[in-house]
Symmetry: C2
Subunit: 276 residues, 2 copies
Amino acid sequence: MSDFSKLAINQFTTLHRWSLTQAIEGYARNGVHAMGIVRDKLQEVGVREARRCLDAHDMTVTCYCIGGLLTDSDPDRFRVNLNETRRAIDEAAEIGAGCLVFVAGGLPEGSRDLPAARARCLEGLAEILPHAREAGVSLALEPLHPMICAFRSCLSTLAQANDWIDALGAGPELGIVVDVYHVWWDPDMERGIERSAGRILSFHVCDWLMDTTDLRLDRGMMGDGVIDIRRIRRLVEAAGYNGYREVEIFSERNWWRRDPDEVVAIAKARYLSDVI
Amino acid sequence: MSDFSKLAINQFTTLHRWSLTQAIEGYARNGVHAMGIVRDKLQEVGVREARRCLDAHDMTVTCYCIGGLLTDSDPDRFRVNLNETRRAIDEAAEIGAGCLVFVAGGLPEGSRDLPAARARCLEGLAEILPHAREAGVSLALEPLHPMICAFRSCLSTLAQANDWIDALGAGPELGIVVDVYHVWWDPDMERGIERSAGRILSFHVCDWLMDTTDLRLDRGMMGDGVIDIRRIRRLVEAAGYNGYREVEIFSERNWWRRDPDEVVAIAKARYLSDVI
């Protein structure tokens, strides 16, 4: 039995060669009816056309990528990203996304003050939350791998994401993305997932390649690397998560260069052999 | 006042262009009288010649690099690395090194079982400790950055290193290396350093480059990156550490290509401007 009812594909997986409408059509053509949407790609076609196409292909939007980057100490730049995140929340609402993926941001230019960047992001989150609540959109905090802490995300672990949510005292408008790529190495992962019970809004899969050549854009297809994906899926599900398993692969040297139909077909096969 | 009495240089910093005797002479010529020694480099010249040269230049050996890699499930390969680590302990004793740096090892070939790799390494540590005790050599566990978890070190955080030492119930023959490169991103770093009080055997400095291009061999000179080195030094010293600050830079694209005398001179200048 090949059950793909909980398979989703994040649009980043076919970033270079498919527009949003092509991705919606392509995933649906391959029997995949849930997807994460990339903001730049939505903006190319516009919300109205996207909705029409999503509806026509019975496509569920799991998550919208991304909002955040709220670490700037400079008030103007901070304000710019707050407003961008507000707009992203509105767009997420308009396309009926399950959540908006929130990426914290790295160190502001010229800064070495990581505690300050973290405090600033928490401040920004507090400021943006009422807007998310009103729009009925959940923000999904995604801890990203420590190797991209400097330039992308000062939010690095599940423990930290849970600490932030505790500190904000937030309700269902704030949750967590668990991406195996970002958490698999963490000696505290089990506890981090347990603590995330009731907060997991999205579960992303891909693989860690033994010969990784790039800090951000060299992820592997499930089964090509060393992550015990099935084990992490079970932990996430033991913590009560019952949603989609979403394939998200950034791959400049391999998957982004290939025919997207082939990528989707392989992702489906690997979903069966290495995820469920 | 330029006080270099606590400056040490790890031989990895001048790996390609100086042999061990050249490094001893070169560091001393530049007024640096403490160094970490790389095992391959010691083996090239032999213990006797190394000791003669170290004594002639009044050189203190801070640490010896490395022993460990004890994650293999295969009993033969595990035994090989146990024996290598025993030999490294003996060599560390013979050159009077302050400690032997212990690198855990990554996933065994073909394995995705990270918990098993960790358990195996802990087993290996327990087996090797009596030998370290007898030889009077301390093992310094070095948590390495999560980005090299797969192929180099399943020991990734200070919390984990402290958990391991607690689990082994070890005495002064087991401690920790704090390297700013490996710990700077950790949201739990402050607590990790506090917990390491009385256990810190070595403190290593370099910098994290914003445009890092390699997972292992692209470290920066202090001041060229984004780590608040001075802050981490103060935390380590607040935890009771009063030893050397050791410059350790792996840099295939830059520092390893340059004249080692120039590298040492720049390291000294940056020690004053960015470390103490």
